[in-house]
């Protein structure tokens, strides 16, 4: 007895079953060749849980040493209020912590992408620090504008240290910038600290200044990178994207070109940023940019300036406050390029392979969302 009509699910599953049994019969060399695409397809269609790469086992977690890929997790843009005001954002950050703690194998470290607090309040920052303490893996943090403009970084420094720093891990040089420096718009207007914070907190608030890295930090960056060979694997973190996407929402860094110029001599650079609360992919010359998801809420895509390489995520459903949000993991390869897996809550995870930006979009394009958008 054969079914009268094959459902879409049946066809789907038959295709997958054929694909995977075909995989098994490949020899090792062709298996490795196909595996990158398979990994991407498998992950994007939900067969691969983030960081548990099965059935395609290609990127085993390296035991250490310079020549093996390694992974770190990311959590970003939690925008916490104090608990008595808003439980939803706190619960979302806890969900992200739970996700990362459940990763098997554990990532080498967890990177926090900025905007831990919503209005820069000391209690919000402390609450965030406390929640992040539950992470099993070591934590590295970056500052966002919501963390900074209430007290100009006083509480942040007390909790987390200097916002601008660098470190080395398994042969890769990591740089963390404060890319949300704004020219003083508050003194002339006589704004209070809270007014200043609320102004910056409004994405579409036109009173604030555009973000920048600033001359001081650019000098620091030059010094930090001095003497490093051009082949050094280099990863830069910034809160705002280090390019000019959309000025009206400060998806923007005013001195982006100057910063990019400092990075230009390297063979390739990965830049990871938060602030945009959406999946964003871009490549400018030797720099490969990827955006982090937020745990708190998704932003819509800007009406103009969207990078060509970006595959948009599905339009989030407002009934599900977690839709369009999540956390993720990044695998850095010995050549310095990285894959990123976005663990979108209630949707299939999306993997963006390094070959996608490396080929300028010709290979391994991430699949468009599977689920119907609302």
């Amino acid at each position: 007895m054969s079914p009268r009509h094959k459902s879409i699910e049946t066809k789907h599953m038959q295709e997958r079953a054929q694909f995977f049994s075909a995989l098994k019969s490949l020899d090792r060399r062709s298996f490795l060749k196909v595996s990158a695409a398979a990994f991407g397809a498998a992950a994007a269609s939900g067969l691969v849980t983030p960081h548990a790469f099965q059935p395609v086992k290609v990127y085993a977690q390296g035991a250490g040493g310079k020549q093996e890929p390694f992974s770190f997790a990311y959590i970003s843009d939690s925008h916490l209020y104090k608990r008595t005001l808003n439980d939803r954002f706190i619960n979302a950050l806890m969900r992200a912590v739970d996700d990362v703690n459940a990763m098997d194998p554990q990532p080498d470290f967890v990177f926090y992408g900025g905007d831990l607090a919503q209005l820069g309040q000391p209690e919000e920052l402390e609450l965030g620090a406390q929640i992040l303490k539950n992470l099993k893996a070591p934590l590295r943090v970056m500052v966002g504008e919501h963390d900074w403009y209430y007290d100009m970084g006083e509480k942040w420094r007390a909790l987390f240290g200097e916002p601008t720093y660098s470190f080395d891990h398994k042969g890769v040089h990591f740089v963390v910038l404060n890319s949300v420096v704004e020219k003083d718009f508050w003194t002339a207007r006589g704004l209070s600290a809270m007014d200043r914070m609320k102004t910056v907190a409004g994405l579409d608030n036109g009173v604030q200044s555009p973000f920048s890295v600033g001359a001081e930090q650019r000098t620091w960056l030059e010094n930090d990178l001095k003497g490093k060979p051009a082949t050094t694997p280099l990863v830069v973190f910034s809160h705002s994207p280090l390019y000019k996407l959309y000025r009206n929402w400060n998806f923007w860094t005013d001195d982006a070109e100057e910063v990019q110029a400092i990075l230009r001599r390297f063979r390739q650079v990965c830049v990871f940023h938060g602030h945009t609360h959406q999946m964003l992919t871009n490549r400018i010359g030797n720099i490969h940019f990827q955006g982090f998801l937020s745990t708190a809420w998704p932003w819509p895509y800007a009406p103009q300036g969207l990078p060509e390489l970006t595959v948009q995520m599905a339009r989030p459903d407002p009934f599900n406050p977690n839709d369009g949000c999540g956390d993720g993991a990044i695998t850095v390869h010995p050549d310095g390029l990285a894959d990123i897996v976005h663990n979108l809550w209630n949707r299939n995870p999306v993997t963006i392979l390094r070959t996608y930006t490396a080929s300028n979009g010709k290979k391994d394009k991430p699949e468009a969302p599977l689920r119907r958008s609302y």
Binding site: S7, Q54, I131, N134, N322, N348
Partner: protein, 397 residues
């Protein structure tokens, strides 16, 4: 079966099933009925016979009506259903009432319509136990009355696919949408109690029900026909482990029958829609059930783990059961006891007036149980004093 047959003849009007029910646009109804199975008296009559036909099962003891019993809200009032040889499955039997309005059948949507659904339990080893379609056909093909009936209905000899069609045609007559709520919706404010009216307001507001349980004039049953993980199965096992197991098992055999078996027999059943689509987003997701006649179709959820509607409300009120795949639309609701009671009162007004006697006795029965125990109630969680993911996040240090 005879008793059920008597009851059903009394309940269904002669015009049922052949055209769109009152209030539903004929265009929309057409989208719900396959073109090769337009209803007529012959098909409906045949389907009714088959629905109550125990000969279709391997040992002649089980018919559709065994688990979808007319006198029990067209379900069986069991947590999970029992098939031939006293075997017990993993899923709660959904009601046949108004089932025509779903855009897929089964808790995991593995059947596209009523026709596809009807024939699967017959060949499931623990439900009706037949080895395959041929055996099913053989069980009634020699009966001259059936031969005549099939010819009259479909102009063909007895065959397996037509068994499904006929049953589906009969099931489409089971439209029970004349409830006190409908009279209230048409303008009679006193058709339902003040509590129920308050419950209706909560349903559309604070309790966030309409996100999944959608009630509109053309889709009056209270479902979006989609799949959501509300955390019911997360109570029982480790999801991530199950998901990995599921992938391996399905690679071996992904036909409809294998899925059916898996769904009912193994613990992979708890993965729900994932077993059908293999989408990670569907892990532990089950179809939004309908709310029509919900008062008389206890127990609730895909595994029948909730005995009363109070239990259902407690589950949602506390924000479901946290797990990595929990639908983000499930949040703690901070409903107080009065509001919970009002929502329950509202839900009991959704039962068709023809089934009022069952509704009343069920209300009393459930109320008595709820008065004694409320196993899912958690006021701390409901009022957001402890957050859904808090214990998980802080326990893993």
């Amino acid at each position: 079966m005879d008793e059920q047959l008597k009851q059903i003849t009394a309940l269904i009007p002669a015009t049922a099933g052949k055209s769109a029910p009152a209030g539903v646009s004929s265009e929309y109804w057409k989208a719900l009925v396959p073109a090769d199975n337009i209803a007529n008296d012959a098909r409906i009559e045949l389907g009714r016979k088959l629905y109550f036909e125990t000969r279709l099962s391997k040992d002649g003891t089980v018919a559709c009506a065994t688990c979808h019993d007319v006198s029990r809200g067209f379900t069986d009032r069991r947590n999970t259903s029992e098939g031939i040889s006293d075997q017990i499955g993993q899923r709660n039997a959904p009601t046949t009432l108004n089932a025509a309005f779903f855009t897929s059948q089964f808790w995991d949507g593995r059947a596209g319509n009523l026709e596809d659904q009807a024939i699967l339990p017959i060949v499931n080893p623990i439900e009706m136990g037949q080895p395959d379609g041929n055996a099913v056909v053989a069980s009634i093909a020699s009966d001259a009355e059936y031969q005549k009936a099939f010819q009259a209905a479909y102009g063909r000899a007895v065959n397996y696919a037509d068994i499904g069609r006929a049953i589906a045609a009969f099931e489409r007559t089971l439209v029970f949408l004349d409830a006190p709520f409908d009279r209230f919706a048409r303008g009679d404010a006193n058709a339902i109690s003040a509590d129920a009216r308050a419950g209706w307001a909560l349903f559309n507001g604070k309790a966030r029900c309409t996100g999944c349980h959608q009630l509109s004039s053309n889709n009056p049953i209270g479902t979006d026909s989609r799949f959501h993980n509300v955390g019911v199965s997360a109570r029982h096992q480790n999801f991530e482990e199950l998901a990995k197991q599921g992938l391996i098992a399905l690679k071996k055999d992904s036909s409809k029958e294998a899925l059916d078996k898996l769904a009912l027999q193994t613990n992979l059943s708890e993965l729900g829609r994932f077993v059908v689509t293999q989408n990670r987003a569907d892990i532990g997701a089950f179809k939004t059930s309908q709310l029509r006649n919900v008062g008389i179709t206890a127990p609730y959820m895909h595994d029948g783990s909730m005995a009363t509607l109070w239990d259902v409300m407690d589950h949602y009120n506390k924000g479901g059961e946290p797990n990595p795949y929990l639908d983000g639309g499930i949040e703690p609701l901070a409903l107080n006891e009065t509001e919970v009671a009002q929502l329950v009162a509202f839900m009991f007004t959704l039962t068709d007036v023809r089934l009022d006697a069952q509704n009343k006795s069920e209300l009393e029965r459930q109320r008595a149980i709820a008065a004694q125990r409320r196993p899912f109630r958690d006021d701390n969680a409901a009022n957001r004093k402890v957050l859904p993911f808090e214990l998980r996040a802080t326990a893993q240090r």
